[in-house]
């Protein structure tokens, strides 16, 4: 590999650089993940540290990250299929924001969201759907109608049979932030567990940041190209961040930190509780190392003893040690400075 290609294939930046360079107030940002699943919670924490406001968050399912952003008052619009925390109950931060009118939640179903991403990805004007029609999801809009004064999901006649279908509007989020357990420094990403809506989202977004728990050697990518569902060609930047999905679980890597999901959600019930939480768990979690310290080695040992750990075994031998990942990160910084 020539030096030039080694540099251009290295897209590693820090979490704080990613937020500083690629986000702004009022931006439309999409994130991946199922409720309390593997999603980029670390990115939400950094958005709050950099005091981003008026965000428009797109997410098939909301989870701990959006709950936190909403509780802290950083969100004005959301669209998605589900706003709850599954067995952990209602998301208090989202509830408080929606019920007070501070943020509007536009409802779709969990299938409608990835179909909208797919329409965006294929550059189609709409996606025909046989779901969401006949319910209030079709005509009730928290955003006050859709683009150009259209209904939220207009009913159309299928040109072949005359039957009714719903026209889902396409989504091309300004920025997508997708959490994965493994990626190489160029952004070739491997997902463990359900792909959920990450693959369609990665194709729909105008810009894509990958947040990976582990950076792996390119040899890993070449060994399992079938499993690389997000190729580097789509990726703008790569952030290395162990425990980026904490306190949620990440199949193959760690279980849900049940106590902390509950503590976080309880704190978001009130403004005062939220402030206290931010000071305790968001402000000091600036780097991967400081997040690790906050979680604590004792808890990390428990969380990583997951019954799903075997899922990660085939990839472990290619995980770059922390020093090497940091070296790559610095090499990129140096190369940018030289330019």
């Amino acid at each position: 590999m020539s030096i030039r290609s080694a540099i251009t294939q290295n897209k590693l930046i820090t979490l704080s650089e990613a937020v500083r360079e690629h986000t702004h107030d009022g931006q439309q940002i999409a994130t991946n993940g199922l409720p309390v699943g593997a999603e980029p919670v670390a990115f939400a924490r950094e958005l709050l540290r950099q005091k981003r406001k008026n965000l428009h968050i797109v997410s098939t399912c909301a989870s701990s990250g959006l709950n936190l952003l909403c509780g802290a008052g950083a969100v004005s619009k959301m669209e998605g299929g589900f706003s709850g925390l599954e067995v952990f109950g209602f998301a208090n931060g989202i509830r408080r924001a929606v019920e007070s009118g501070q943020a509007a939640w536009e409802d779709y179903s969990n299938l409608a969201m990835p179909l909208r991403y797919l329409a965006g990805a294929l550059n189609l004007p709409f996606f025909p759907a046989n779901v969401c029609i006949g319910s209030d999801i079709r005509n009730r809009s928290a955003f006050g109608g859709n683009t150009n004064g259209n209904e939220k999901i207009p009913l159309l006649a299928d040109p072949f049979t005359g039957k009714k279908v719903g026209a889902l509007s396409p989504l091309k989020p300004d920025l997508a932030v997708i959490y994965v357990p493994f990626a190489d420094a160029a952004g070739n990403a491997i997902i463990l567990g359900s792909e959920w809506t990450s693959v369609e989202l990665s194709r729909a977004a105008k810009k894509l940041i990958i947040i990976a728990d582990n950076i792996v050697d390119k040899a890993c990518i070449r060994q399992y190209p079938n499993l690389v569902r997000i190729p580097a060609e789509l990726v703008t930047a790569v952030v290395w961040h162990p425990f980026a999905a904490w306190p949620n679980s990440s199949p193959g890597l760690y279980d849900s930190d049940e106590a902390h999901v509950r503590e976080l959600n309880a704190a978001l019930k009130t403004e005062a509780g939220t402030q206290e939480y931010l000071e305790k768990f968001v402000v000091p979690a600036e780097t991967p190392q400081s997040l690790r310290k906050l979680i604590g080695e004792e808890k990390i040992a428990v969380l990583t003893a997951t019954p799903s750990a075997f899922l990660a075994d085939p990839y472990r031998k290619w995980i770059l040690p922390e020093e090497e990942t940091e070296k790559l990160l610095n090499a990129r910084k140096t190369s940018i400075e030289i330019k």
């Binding site: 199922l34 409720p35 309390v36 699943g37 098939t60 399912c61 299929g81 589900f82 706003s83 709850g84 599954e86 067995v87 952990f88 209602f90 019920e99 009118g101 509007a104 939640w105 409802d107 179903s109 969990n110 299938l111 409608a112 969201m113 990835p114 179909l115 759907a129 046989n130 779901v131 029609i133 006949g134 319910s135 209030d136 999801i137 009730r140 809009s141 928290a142 039957k163 009714k164 997902i191 463990l192 567990g193 359900s194 959920w196 809506t197 693959v199 369609e200 949620n248 679980s249 199949p251 193959g252 760690y254 279980d255 849900s256 049940e258 997951t306 019954p307 799903s308 075997f310 899922l311």
Partner: protein, 263 residues
């Protein structure tokens, strides 16, 4: 063994009995997942199941899964796919035999609200924020449109069993007989509402839900008192048989953390 059981357990077992061997079924998280895996453990070993997360062939490990793709449901799967596959190719397509969904509010035509509660219903002209935000449809709307039939599980309280839901998150029979046909849904609608007091089923002529069964610890009167519409007793209504010892054993093998025994 102790033959006593909780109302939650009776409800889970009654739901599980609705599932037949060999069917293709989709489960959500919590109660519906326990009911589904109970059926597989008890009387439907060839039931084929998947979650809307696109997790196939898995059984929960280490306790009730936190979510539909978490590590507890990802430790013995045979395939991981995604939402378009699970909710689209298998559910919205009409391929899936049966789904189980929950409800915060359900009405006499089996329409389900999981989106929000408004103070005096939703005005026609505007769409103000709800007084209480619920979770939204998730995949339940897709299941209600596409599955050949679906079962609704709900705690039986008057505030939940209403004449008309505030918001239709997932379509039941909409305005009654013939309404679903207006939208050409491939699924046939809700086949049962299993509650903490009994089982309601739609009248074939009107699609209005009626009392089909009550538990040994409840009665048609108790169901009527806790239902917000004038609910009829169906012609063949009867008491639901108590869970048998072997059914309880099967359920408790699935519900290893005793989630259904806590209330």
């Amino acid at each position: 063994m102790d033959t006593k059981f909780t109302r939650q357990e009776a409800m889970a077992i009654a739901t599980g009995r609705e599932l037949r061997d060999g069917e293709l079924a989709i489960f959500g998280v919590g109660l519906s997942m326990l009911a589904g895996y109970f059926a597989q453990e008890n009387h439907a070993p060839a039931l084929r199941s998947f979650t809307e997360g696109g997790v196939f062939g898995a059984r929960p490990v280490g306790g009730l899964p936190w979510g539909i793709e978490c590590t507890r449901i990802s430790s013995n799967a045979t395939s991981f796919s995604g939402a378009i596959d699970a909710l689209g190719c298998l559910v919205a397509s009409g391929r899936c035999d049966v789904g189980i969904i929950g409800a915060a509010q359900v009405d006499k035509f089996g329409n389900v609200n999981t989106t929000g509660i408004w103070a005096n219903g939703v005005p026609d002209a505007s769409f103000p924020p709800p007084k209480t935000r619920l979770n939204g449809s998730g995949g339940a709307n897709d299941i209600a449109c596409g599955c050949k039939r679906f079962i609704i599980m709900a705690a039986h309280e008057k505030k939940r069993f209403v004449e008309r839901v505030d918001y239709i998150s997932s379509p039941g029979f909409l305005d009654g007989k013939g309404s679903r046909e207006r939208y050409g849904f491939i699924g046939n609608g809700p086949s049962a509402i299993v509650t903490t007091l009994g089982i309601l089923r739609p009248n074939p002529q009107t699609c209005e839900f009626e009392i089909s069964g009550w538990f040994s610890f409840s009665s048609p009167e108790e169901i009527r008192e806790n239902t917000g519409w004038e609910i009829r007793l169906s012609a063949d209504a009867q008491q639901i048989p108590d869970p048998t010892e072997s059914e309880l054993e099967a359920l408790r093998r699935v519900d290893i953390t005793g989630a259904l025994r806590k209330s």
